[in-house]
Amino acid sequence: MEYVLKTNSLGKKYRKFTALDGLSMSVPKGSIYGFVGRNGAGKTTLIRLICGLQRPTSGSFEMFGVQNTDKKILEQRRRIGAVVETPSIYMGMTAEENLKMQYLTLGLPDYKGIPELLELVGLSNTGKKTARNFSLGMKQRLGIAVALCGSPDMLILDEPINGLDPQGIIEIRELILKLNREREITVLISSHILDELSKLATHYGFIDSGRIVREMSAEELEKASRKAVHIEVSDTKALSIVLDEMGVEYKLIDDHTADIYAKLNITQLTKALMPSGCEVLSINERDESLESFFISLVGGESHD
């Protein structure tokens, strides 16, 4: 597999605080790499190191096959676009002027690509409205448009859906998927809104306390996630006796509901419950969410 980004025991310390502690990860080419972790886990620090905003205190990384200590890394950095924390845009300028600024910075020969970029992010009809007067979603999309100037091979998005309304979240999600599918841009996206990330990512990296806890593809995650049958009955005591006899794993949620982690023969279960007078009120199957998987990996206690 070809990787666009590989980190090797990357470390970053701020005085006595260790933000990254020997982090190693690999982002495959063409993937949408979901970078999952709690606040303060080190997601943004890693992105800052990759973007060259800060220097690692230990370890190294490789971008498009070039080591970070190599002077050629500056050229390779031109192949990425990034939105780190907040969109990097000039509030006093219009969307078009912001893109012109980035075109000038990159030294691109003309402004021909600007209308297409504005169209892509849905900002083509903003006219002379300055970015200051944009909604949060529009600013975010403009930030992505700026990051897309110069047709990067990799897009780094740090918490791109933070603070957006449901409509804004859908727009950003669709834009990311479009960029990945149509332009084959590798996307590294960090988020702690896991449900949203699960709708996008093809690969995951779970980070906790500055370390990668686990890296896996979406297929591997699906296999690893346990299927659960959520059942509602009139009496969970009777249910637990039957389930114990059947030898299946389960978790009682309250007096009437339980999650069963096994493939069940519903008819058999209903028949088994009948002698004790326990009624099955509802049954539905659900996947263990990315959230539950993450909690099972890093534990439930808060670091904040």
């Binding site: 905003l53 500056l74 950095r77 990034a82 845009i89 000039y90 006093g92 300028m93």
Partner: protein, 268 residues
């Protein structure tokens, strides 16, 4: 570097603060001319000094220098500080430029902005004065004063940029620059200049030289000096040239300190 400068100048020319300052600030000097003319109007002109001329030149074409220290802080906050506040600095680093190139592109664009405003503030009132009242002063001295105003203006700009870089934040950087300018100037005024003026007999020749050097090293006090003593045209050739040189040393130190800090700093 050229690409960065093009981008910075594009931003500069899109900035309302630049154009507003450029067109409003000369009015300070123009108003001083008009009020000066009213003062001299009733007098019988016996020499050129009784009308608007070189004698008033320091009060007219250079009046803006009194405020330029603070205006530079505001302008750099709006220009360079905005790069930090908007996060646009990140885009330039991700675009693959070295920090040295980035720093010098900001310094050059910032200094150019300050110098353009300074020169515009000198040129516009001068043209107005010439058209309205005529000019019978010494062109050489006027030219020398203009040239002499450039190093302290550039140094103040470099100092403000250093403060913004040091703080890593627009507002804090502006506050640091503003307060340091004030404190430095009044410290010198309190401990050196007042002694030099009020008790000159107690100041030895060596001390006097030292005071002048310290005075010249502080760009804000130099700007003040240029304005207050502008009328002493005859002294200019003697005292201005070495002071300008000293100010350039401060400029070099500020530039080096800014570069070191910019290269070292972790950015957000």
């Amino acid at each position: 570097m050229i690409k960065l400068l093009r981008a910075n100048f594009f931003k500069l020319f899109c900035s309302w603060s630049f154009w507003l300052t450029l067109f409003i600030l000369p009015f300070i000097n123009i108003f001083v001319i008009i009020s000066g003319d009213r003062t001299y109007k009733g007098l019988e002109p016996r020499s050129g000094l009784d009308r608007w001329n070189l004698g008033m030149c320091g009060e007219t074409c250079f009046s803006h220098l009194m405020f330029l220290t603070y205006i530079i802080v505001l302008l750099m906050g709006m220009f360079i500080g905005d790069e930090y506040a908007s996060g646009a600095l990140r885009n330039k680093i991700i675009a693959g430029y070295s920090r040295t190139k980035l720093y010098f592109s900001y310094l050059i664009a910032g200094v150019c902005e300050s110098l353009i405003i300074n020169l515009f503030c000198i040129a516009v009132p001068f043209i107005v004065c010439c058209a309205k009242y005529g000019f019978d002063g010494d062109w050489g001295t006027l030219g020398l004063m203009t040239v002499s105003s450039l190093p302290p203006v550039a140094t103040l700009t470099a100092f403000t940029i250093l403060c913004i870089i040091f703080a890593g934040d627009r507002t804090s950087g502006m506050v640091i620059a503003f307060l340091t300018d004030l404190v430095m100037y009044y410290f010198f005024d309190c401990f050196f200049l007042s002694k030099l003026i009020n008790e000159p007999e107690k100041v030895s020749a060596a001390q006097k030289k030292l005071y002048l050097i310290i005075d010249a090293l502080l760009p804000s006090s130099f700007v003040e000096w240029l304005y207050v003593f502008g009328m002493k045209a005859h002294d200019l050739n003697v005292t201005h040239a070495p002071k300008c040189g000293w100010c350039c040393i401060t400029l070099a130190v500020m530039t080096a300190a800014g570069l070191m800090q910019f290269r070292k700093n972790d950015l957000k």
